[in-house]
């Protein structure tokens, strides 16, 4: 059954992505694409970069999913003390700006690791484990555990239950998470720029280099198209698979699904998860330690310095950066939740058009941020829509990155809604709008809460796209941290560490707050 408003839901996301992504992208590609740009494709160096990009993305994705699944199970299905803390610990890395993590990683990893494939893969796993835990776990929470119980009652061992019941139900979510992680790592920018070496570079970094260092717009445009085509291929394949594997099921209430740790298998999974949480926390702990380390003793000097507005224009009081970051985040979350929520509905309710929209919304993730940034710069340059230098361009850019995450979080839940629920409501005389309100909306808003948390995290920690978009005179927290790190001496690195800890805390609070902003009837299903 297809609610009559399905196409209306699609209008908003199509307009948003069309105006703020497709139009600027086409403008800049139109300006850049030329026969001479094709020379890039003939160079052996380019194909080395393409090969490295693919290899590291495949390795990173496989490892992230392998380590993320047990953790997703533990924090979303098992009832143990400190569950929420472990979930937060695993989520925090996703929101850390790459400049900060890069510095922390370089301090923790042996010097011989710098610039190696291993360093990049480890950092990618660190960053993206949250994606698997959240996307798969969010779905896992709502799996009706009675299916598994039934299988167990019928004599199936844990492995058989997993193979025949849990895994088939879970596959769409795992696939969705894998596709996201692959996209993130395939188009990785900050991690590769900071942790990678001169020979370990991705297409995204190469586009940046050609655009910013060489002003080789034709070459950059060609690579940009190449990257988009590769991303499209992955998206189409993943989308097909996901649709084919999706199983309609009745979703359970989250709290009911948690169960105590009893089986030996559960204990093993829990132990693995705790180890992962500790490992993931290490770079953050290193930052906390650094923020209190003054010369050869411990002290509050860097923390005190945060509150003091320094003498030059580059010294911004921490409060100002926090205020700016939160303002952007509020706007970005609003845009991402409204546009992403509408998009998820449109995709879930339609067939062919929905797939197309789904893929279209994912494209900003797979497109070079510097290309889109330059596109916005030349597209919205004519009054009355001269958005350059306007603050709104920043949350718009962040929302472009956050919308696919919102869609990914909401879509599996929405798709699994048993259509018979709607049919029953309709039979009982409920209008389509009322049916949507009472059946879809509660599920939707619950998933949107998680999506909003993601969007807040993306906005607060985002460094890549923001740094290419129009800048106002007020820097966000990650940008201010980046500026401090680019100056020498302990005064700057100490303050950068303290400000990074502030960012972690602000983000954790914002994610928690947005996740609580759920529809009052959420969970009443």
């Amino acid at each position: 059954m297809q609610p009559p408003s399905a196409w209306w839901f699609g209008l908003l996301p199509v307009a948003f992505v069309g105006v703020f992504f497709a139009w600027p992208l086409l403008t800049v590609l139109h300006r850049g694409l030329s026969p001479e740009g094709l020379d890039v494709l003939g160079s052996a160096a380019t194909w080395r970069v393409v090969r490295f990009t693919t290899v590291q993305a495949l390795l990173s994705t496989a490892l992230t999913v392998a380590l993320g699944l047990p953790a997703a199970y533990a924090v979303h299905r098992l009832d143990f003390r400190g569950r929420r803390l472990v979930l937060s610990m695993l989520t925090v890395p996703f929101v850390l700006p790459t400049v900060v993590v890069g510095a922390a990683f370089r301090a923790l990893l042996p010097e011989s690791w710098t610039g190696t494939l291993a360093a990049i893969v480890v950092a990618h796993v660190f960053f993206n484990i949250a994606v698997v835990v959240r996307v798969v776990g969010g779905f896992w929470t709502h799996l009706d555990h009675r299916w598994e119980d039934a299988a167990r009652t019928l004599g199936a061992g844990p492995l058989t239950v997993w193979r025949t019941v849990t895994w088939p139900l879970l596959r769409p979510a795992v696939l969705a998470a894998s596709a996201l992680v692959f996209l993130f790592t395939f188009t990785s920018f900050g991690v590769v720029l900071v942790l990678g070496g001169p020979t370990t570079t991705t297409i995204e970094v190469e586009i940046y280099r050609r655009t910013v260092q060489l002003f080789d717009l034709p070459g950059a445009a060609t690579l940009c198209v190449l990257q988009i085509l590769a991303v499209l291929l992955v998206l189409v394949v993943a989308g097909r698979l996901q649709r084919r594997l999706s199983v309609r099921q009745r979703l359970a209430r989250a709290s009911v699904a948690l169960r105590p740790v009893r089986a030996a298998a559960d204990r093993t999974v829990l132990a693995v998860t705790l180890v992962e949480a500790v490992l993931v926390a290490l770079p953050v702990l290193a930052l906390v330690a650094q923020s209190f380390r003054v010369g050869d003793h411990w002290g509050l000097d860097w923390w005190r310095a945060l509150g003091v507005e320094g003498p030059t224009t580059r010294d911004v009081a921490a409060w100002d950066s926090i205020r700016v970051s939160l303002s952007y985040a509020a706007a970005a979350v609003l845009i991402a939740v409204v546009v992403g929520g509408a998009a998820a509905c449109a995709i879930a309710y339609t067939r062919r058009g929905g797939d197309l929209l789904d893929t279209g919304l994912m494209l900003p993730l797979g497109t070079s941020a510097v290309t889109v940034g330059f596109g916005l710069l030349i597209t919205f340059a004519v009054p009355p829509v001269d958005l350059r230098g306007s603050w709104i361009i920043v949350p718009i850019g962040q929302a472009l990155v956050a919308i696919p995450l919102v869609v990914r979080t909401v879509l599996p839940v929405l798709r699994s809604l048993d259509p018979r629920l709607r049919e029953v409501a309709a039979t009982l005389g409920s209008s389509p709008a009322r049916t949507w309100r009472s059946i879809d909306l509660p599920v939707l808003s619950r998933a949107l809460g998680v999506g909003a948390g993601f969007a807040a995290a993306v906005s607060l920690g985002e460094f890549g796209a923001t740094s290419f978009l129009a800048r106002t005179d007020a820097p966000t927290l990650p940008i201010q941290i980046g500026r401090l790190l680019s100056r020498p001496g302990e005064v700057n690195s100490g303050q950068a560490a303290a400000l990074s800890v502030v960012l972690v805390v602000v983000t954790a609070l914002a994610v928690l707050a947005t996740e609580r902003l759920r529809h009052p009837s959420a969970g009443a299903l």
């Binding site: 020979t199 710069l377 290419f468 680019s486």
Partner: protein
């Protein structure tokens, strides 16, 4: 956070009003300062303006003491809005893409490795501040009287003095020394493809050894174990052993002003002298310029901002704000600079047009020899 955004939008509408009124003023100003051919006539920049705002586009390293800005506003009526556009390359490329329809009114931070790209793209409305009359002509080479030199600095090899003392090794003094076996595996440099000091050091070797010789030199450096990392932070803070760096290599490509910066940014109590020194051979000179952006609606006020960058107060401020040296000779320097900053007698340079023409090919060739 909502009130904060309201505040911003209020401020914004005030700025719009100011801009609108200044556009009217500027319209009168433009007709008198530009003749029919579009080239600037030597109109004197007025010393006071009706309240107006000038947007100054610059890079992420720009800094100036805040009180100098407020003094300037009080004296002239011009409020300077500073917009940091990323690194110098990003700044210049954005300006080149929007040439004629600029994001701001004036630009500071294009350097001699990027200048000819900006000039070719027609980014600037030619203007040289009268205050630049005393600036040495070496800093004005190839500016085509379109921009004004504001400051300069040298990219030089830095040495960890403590390491050399502890290991009883004589520090290197020339570029050629770096290929000698006693300095094997001691040097870390930045990637010329992704880092500004990295590119400057590559240019220094091209200036020294010529287009036919520099690749041979880099081949020797590679054989001698040079380490290449992506950026300055990775090189100085993570791989270099001196200056508070956490690494193990005692030779790094950095700036002539890094030793004073080491003192300024050290935690209290400050050390009395830096732990690092500068090798004064093989330094590459970087000059930074400011200019008026073509298409600005506020050209006279933009000129006043360029003049202000050359004023004695701002010139005296640049060493400690940006760790570069003032372009105007005779500007008093802070003690930490006179004591510890190196002044290479004969820094290396290359013509900006030559750099722009060959940059890509040089970097690709360097990449092949040094990294593959």
């Amino acid at each position: 956070m909502v009130p904060a955004m309201h505040l911003t939008s209020h401020r914004r509408s005030a700025v719009v009003l100011v801009l609108a009124s200044s556009a009217l003023l500027a319209a009168c100003g433009t007709s008198s300062s530009t003749d029919a051919s579009g080239s600037p006539s030597p109109t004197v920049v007025p010393s006071t303006f009706a309240p107006t705002t000038v947007t100054l586009l610059t890079h992420d390293s720009f800094a100036v003491t805040k009180s100098l800005l407020t003094d300037f506003t009080a004296r002239t009526g011009i409020t300077v809005k500073i917009v940091m556009e990323g690194d110098a390359g990003e700044l210049v490329n954005k300006a080149a893409l929007t040439a004629g329809n600029p994001e701001g009114d004036a630009l500071f931070g294009v350097d001699n490795t990027l200048l000819s790209r900006a000039l070719e793209a027609g980014v600037f409305d030619p203007y040289v501040s009268p205050a630049a009359a005393s600036v040495p002509s070496a800093l004005k080479v190839a500016t085509k009287d379109a921009v004004t030199p504001v400051d300069y600095g040298d990219v030089c090899v830095n040495l960890d003095d403590r390491w050399f003392a502890a290991h009883k090794v004589t520090p290197p003094t020339t570029l050629a020394d770096l290929t000698k076996p006693e300095y094997k595996n001691l040097l870390v440099v930045e990637n010329a493809a992704t880092s500004s000091p990295g590119l400057a050091f590559l240019l220094a070797t091209i200036a020294r050894y010529g287009e036919n010789g520099y690749l041979g030199y880099w081949g020797q450096l590679r054989a001698n174990g040079v380490k290449v990392v992506n950026g300055w932070t990775e090189a100085y803070e993570d791989t270099f052993s001196g200056g508070g760096g956490k690494g193990t290599r005692p030779i790094v490509v950095s700036y002539a002003s890094s030793p004073p910066a080491e003192i300024v940014y050290a935690p209290d109590p400050k050390p009395t002298k830096p732990s690092t020194s500068v090798m004064t051979d093989g330094c590459f000179r970087q000059v930074e310029y400011a200019g008026v952006l073509k298409g600005t609606k506020n050209p006279l006020a933009a000129r006043a901002v360029v003049d202000w960058l050359l004023s004695p107060a701002v010139q005296a401020d640049v060493p400690l704000s940006m760790f570069v040296l003032p372009a105007v000779p005779g500007t008093p320097l802070p003690k930490v600079f006179t004591d510890f900053a190196a002044t290479p007698a004969d820094p290396l340079t290359l013509d900006p047009a030559t750099i722009d023409k060959n940059r890509s090919a040089w970097i690709d060739a360097w990449d092949q020899v040094t990294l593959r």
